[in-house]
């Protein structure tokens, strides 16, 4: 990831290969090399996305899936969702969750990365092993495990909280229903998602740290800089390109979180819905699918993501240029 960053700042006009030769005969090699990937992505990603765009202006149900022509409804799907207070509620959940989860993921992930960098051989192996397990767990498995942990009958969390003295955590935990209210549902969801997402941050930060020259830290120590100052003055600026990528990816991942929430609450708890779950319930929730509505919601989600990401990248690139 480090080598991609300088590409942005490369002075224009300088090309790695001889400019004269390439002007006469365009080199096909790179395009051939990238073609299979592009074709696969185009078939599996772009085409469905275009379809979603088309379908969001149509009324599509099972009859249309069988081949009947779909009815064009203009912007009706968008009008319906944008005028529905429920849409704004799910949007609020989505955004709030993303803000909290991204912040926590980056903070905890970075701390783990710093810790791994400091630890010696055996302990580092042990910690990174634990971190890898969290990373390797499929989202479905993780969601089921967390549903059990926070469940009512035989749930480990309620049992432990019940064992703790009442003056510390309060009583009545035995039958506490974590998935009854949005706030407690999202607490569990955040723990689950952050637990799975911070290993990637930790490993990326660790990889970055390994490339920071040791002399810089030595010089900082000689100058009497504490760990807090060292991190913000040396580590953070050097690893900035990495953090840029990590923040953007985390935003994308946490905005579209679906699997875990779907398993934890299902469709019977609409008060806890986020945008993805809302789109799913419209499109696939019953035997009468409203694929047009589902597509419209998905398109809105995609647009929001694109805007957020574009703004963020722009800000970061600008900052890099002025310094």
């Amino acid at each position: 990831m480090l080598d991609t960053a300088p590409a942005v700042r490369r002075p224009p006009g300088r090309r790695p290969s001889g400019p004269g030769r390439s002007r006469r005969r365009p080199r096909m090699g790179p395009y051939l090399l990238i073609a299979p990937t592009v074709i696969v992505i185009a078939l599996l990603m772009f085409w469905p996305m275009i379809q979603i765009g088309i379908m969001s202006f149509q009324k599509v149900g099972n009859r249309q899936l069988r081949g009947e022509p779909a009815e064009q409804v203009g912007s009706e799907n968008f009008d319906t969702i944008l005028n529905d207070p429920f849409f704004w509620q799910t949007l609020r959940h989505t955004v709030l969750f993303a803000v909290v989860a991204v912040t926590l993921t980056l903070a905890i992930g970075t701390l783990i990365g710093l810790l791994l960098n400091k630890l010696g051989g055996k302990m580092a192996g042990f910690v990174s092993g634990g971190v890898m397990v969290a990373w390797a767990t499929p989202p479905v498995t993780a969601a089921i495990i967390f549903t059990w942990l926070f469940g009512t009958t035989g749930g480990l969390v309620n049992w432990s909280l019940d064992l703790l003295p009442d003056w510390l955590v309060g009583g009545g935990w035995d039958d506490y229903n974590w998935f009854a209210k949005p706030l407690s549902t999202y607490t569990v969801l955040t723990v689950c998602v952050v637990w799975q997402a911070c290993p990637f941050v930790a490993v990326s930060v660790l990889a970055g740290l390994k490339s920071v020259p040791g002399e810089l830290y030595e010089a900082a120590r000689v100058d009497g800089s504490g760990p807090w100052r060292t991190f913000w003055r040396i580590t953070f600026p050097i690893l900035k390109p990495i953090f840029l990528v990590l923040v953007v990816m985390s935003i994308i991942w946490d905005f579209k979180v679906f699997t875990q929430l779907f398993i934890m609450t299902g469709l019977a708890n609409r008060d806890s819905f986020n945008l993805s779950l809302y789109a799913y319930s419209e499109a696939f929730g019953s035997l009468n699918p409203k694929l047009g509505m589902g597509s419209a919601i998905a398109l809105v989600l995609t647009l929001i993501l694109l805007i957020v990401t574009a703004l963020y990248v722009r800000v970061m690139v600008r900052q890099g240029e002025t310094r």
Binding site: L65, T153, D175, A268, N269, R270, S286, L287, P289
Partner: protein, 421 residues
């Protein structure tokens, strides 16, 4: 690079294969034996079920020796998406099991073959439950055949009832009193009242003379804002909020996500579930299994409340190229002998009037099945109940402190729009 290319090529081949997959079935017609007959069964499938279906296949082959029957199990949570794929890709079954609440949606979408003539020629058809059969038709045509049904009762502990001197509850007041007694003496919640269990809630609404919606001159009109329905919903929610005989931990859950686990473990006094729950509960704990029994859900003033007739039907898929063989399979699957053994294996009651359970513990469910009702027979019910889950979400809001009147008014507006798609 090499691998990417291979991946690209195989992806392209896979796409091409699915794209034309719908067309390369042989058009030999329905007179000859088809080479294969694809049968979709709903649910995870158990070894007993597979053994049972093997037996059905053997019997089916006596008439169609050249046909290979392929069974595919579709887990219930994936049913909607699987049928969507079948409709879109043309890769559907020949015979399929269909949840009875989904039959009307399928008919409306044109996914099921018209089997009116075949059904008329089938002698056993006369033994089938009339109410269930009504759900399988539209505009005077038949599209599916009732297979098995499930009705729910209230499971309880005979030893606790005896010890605490509780009689079988005959009214809502009795039910609350019984739950209170158990809760006080046994220190476990008296009864389970999950929010995501529309079938249970419906029994209370119907048991109070209420309705979800009634058909008024070709249009469904919601009745959830009527006093009978409001009172029933208030009573059900009140089990948690007012009487406090049902725990809050089942809010937002269905009967499988808690009650079905807690009852066999002796951590719950009573809960509402079907005959098929018996074998599921035995998987959790056999300890007190001989003391479990069920009684019918009471209505408000006394007597049995009508229960929702859950269950499954079998149908021939519209795109099937072997309609005749497909219907023959249905007649074998649902002949008297196979219906009996399926009832005993699955714990579901047969929809044939001449078949009963062998296990005496389940006999009460045959009695309960005498008083069944259907939710509104509208294609919109699937969206009302599955996608939007209107009643479960209203019930949840009411249990968490919202006023029943305004919540049910909103639910009723939803019913008015969704049930008239």
């Amino acid at each position: 690079m090499k691998y990417t290319k291979i991946a690209a090529v195989s992806a392209a081949i896979a796409l091409a294969a699915t794209a034309c997959g719908g067309d390369d079935k042989d058009d030999a017609g329905s007179t000859k034996d088809p080479a294969t007959l694809k049968v979709w069964m709903m649910g995870e499938g158990t070894p007993e079920q597979t053994k049972f279906l093997d037996g059905v296949e053997t019997e089916f082959k006596q008439k169609h020796s050249g046909t290979d029957v392929q069974i595919k199990y579709v887990p219930w949570p994936q049913v909607a998406t699987t049928f969507q794929k079948a409709a879109a890709g043309g890769e559907g079954p020949d015979v399929t099991e269909v949840g009875n609440s989904d039959v009307q949606s399928h008919i409306e979408q044109g996914s099921l073959a018209d089997i009116t003539d075949e059904f008329k020629g089938w002698a056993d058809g006369k033994t089938l439950n009339k109410t269930a059969l009504e759900n399988d038709g539209a505009n005077g045509k038949t599209y599916a055949v009732p297979w098995y049904g499930g009705v729910r009762g209230i499971w309880y502990r005979t030893d606790w009832f005896q010890e605490l001197n509780i009689q079988q509850p005959k009214s809502w007041a009795d039910l609350v009193a019984a739950a209170k007694k158990i809760q006080d003496a046994k220190k476990v919640p008296g009864i389970g009242a999950p929010t995501d269990q529309t079938n249970a809630l419906l029994s209370f609404i119907w048991g109070n003379g209420g309705e979800v919606a009634t058909k008024d001159g070709g249009k469904w009109a919601g009745k959830l804002d009527q006093p009978q329905a409001v009172e029933a919903v208030n009573f059900y929610a009140g089990l948690v909020t007012k009487e406090k005989v049902a725990p809050e931990k089942y809010i937002g859950k269905n009967e499988l996500e808690g009650p079905q686990r807690d009852f066999p473990l002796g951590k719950l006094g009573m809960y509402i579930d079907g005959s098929w729950a018996l074998k599921e509960m035995k998987k959790i704990s056999e300890k007190n299994a001989d003391k479990w029994a069920a009684f019918p859900i009471p209505s408000k003033a006394g007597g049995n409340a009508p229960v929702m007739a859950g269950g499954s039907d079998v149908a021939v898929w519209k795109d099937s190229k072997a309609k005749a063989a497909a219907f023959d399979y249905i007649t074998v699957l649902n002949n008297a002998k196979n219906a009996k053994s399926w009832a005993d294996i699955s714990g579901f009651s047969s929809m044939r009037s001449d078949v009963t359970f062998s296990d005496p513990k389940l006999a009460v469910f045959t009695e309960i099945a005498g008083n069944t009702k259907f939710p509104p027979l509208s294609a919109g019910w699937a969206e009302f109940e599955q996608a939007k889950k209107v009643l479960p979400n209203s019930l949840k809001a009411i249990m968490q402190g919202k006023a029943a009147d305004s919540e049910l008014k909103k639910a009723n507006e939803q019913a008015n729009t969704l049930l008239n798609p």
